[in-house]
Amino acid sequence: MQQRSDDLLVAYLDGELEMAQRREVETWLDTDPAVRQRMAALAESAHLLRLALDEALHEPVPDRLIAAARGETAPPQAGAQVLPFHRRLGEQIVKPRSWRVGLPVAASLLGVLVGGGVAYLGVDKLALNGAAGKQAVLETTAANNLWLDNAAGYFKLVVSAGDNLPIDVPATGDPREALQKISQSLPQKIQLPKLEPWGLSFRGARLVVEEGRPAAALVYTSDKKEIGPLALIIGSSKQPDISPTFDRRQDVNLLYWRHQGRAYALVGQADIGYLWGIANDVAWQLDAV
């Protein structure tokens, strides 16, 4: 009997019960304080569990895992002896004790991955489609140059402005109001990613232009010097999706990507390792990947 009641309480918390069973549990909750207490304790332990493991989402992903996902590590041979992974790969065990350890590694990996510095989505089209493709790529590249330069320029304004941030809608009080106001000028509503775990506080939003369309620049500041202020630009796009692409202009780092009609750019002076980690978080929160 106890097992069944536990099953039902847990399934109720997980939203997995049919209507009749939900009513049954709600009747218990209405009539029995002990059940209410048990339910509250179960909910709290679930919350603690999520909290205990969430830090994995906010850390930079180690370079070896990105390399593995790209197929740049040797897969195990069929029938090979199963050894502890670090021995099989001939690696030292690296315990990512903190950002200070993880970031330079992530940054150096990205440097290796990106290589010769001409990569862009259009490159393969250039090779395949001849003159017409070349023209399209050049046009796309020119448009990108313009808005990325603008984004870098805007970010430099943010840095030089100090406390008088160049924003249209300050995030005083409820930040959702600032989002609502800025969304009125945009073709699509935007959501505010929560970046507090990175030490970033949302300060307000400004209307900017991204890929020739209105976009919102969400401005965050941080007490952490290594992250500093950061702008997340979110706009709409008619261009095809692209994966996160790193660019550097006017001494400003940019990480930008497109997903399902949205264009995103993280702009700041933070190391690429930080930008990569924050971009992952943003993409996860906004379902933007």
Partner: protein, 195 residues
């Protein structure tokens, strides 16, 4: 002047001759890496072992990417690979950790006292998780942490939905009791120290 560097579609990829399907697959994998690390960390109880587990899962997924069915959840498919590899490890060798390993991994000596206390409290949760039987731990992580439905979790671990339901209930009750026990123990020590 700018230096443009494509993270996803780099010259390395073009030169290596990978087809666009593989490229997309790799992109999907990278996107899900933070969640795979969280899941693996919950299963293995160790940061380093978890990353080894995720790396092995990536390699296996790439080798078998043709088995992934378009239109189904990519994250669930990857969770299944991670879980399968981990279960193989559990069966082939004793991977259970000594209590306190995670705390050693995570604690920095220069942290403020309040943050250390918060971390210790979360370490209690991790230790409690680590003490659960493997099947309960997997069910708990998939549903409570990763947000899968019972049906999706059942598909990942390949058991009936009813089994997931009872494993979850046992895991949640055990977790709660262990946390209450840890807190009780800590309070007793603090009371003893205060006297």
């Amino acid at each position: 002047m700018s230096s443009r560097q494509g993270l996803a579609r780099s010259p390395l990829r073009l030169v290596s001759g990978k087809d666009p399907v593989s490229a997309r697959f790799g992109d999907q994998l990278i996107a899900v890496l933070p969640r795979l690390r969280r899941f693996a960390r919950g299963l293995s109880g160790s940061i380093t072992d978890a990353d080894d587990l995720v790396q092995a899962a990536c390699e296996r997924a790439l080798a078998r990417h043709h088995q992934f069915q378009e239109g189904t959840r990519f994250d669930s498919w990857m969770f299944r690979i991670v879980q399968t590899i981990w279960i193989d490890q559990v069966r082939s060798r004793d991977v259970r950790k000594e209590d306190g390993d995670i705390a050693e991994d995570r604690l920095g000596s220069d942290e403020p006292v309040r943050r250390v206390e918060a971390r210790l409290a979360l370490d209690e949760v991790r230790r409690a998780l680590d003490r659960l039987p493997p099947d309960q731990r997997a069910a708990l992580l998939l549903v409570t942490v990763e947000g899968l439905s019972y049906k999706e979790a059942a598909e990942v671990v390949q058991v009936p939905v009813g089994t997931i339901m009872s494993r979850l209930a046992r895991a949640r009750i055990a977790l709660q009791l262990q946390l209450e026990g840890d807190r009780g123990g800590r309070r007793s020590k603090e009371d003893a120290a205060a006297q």
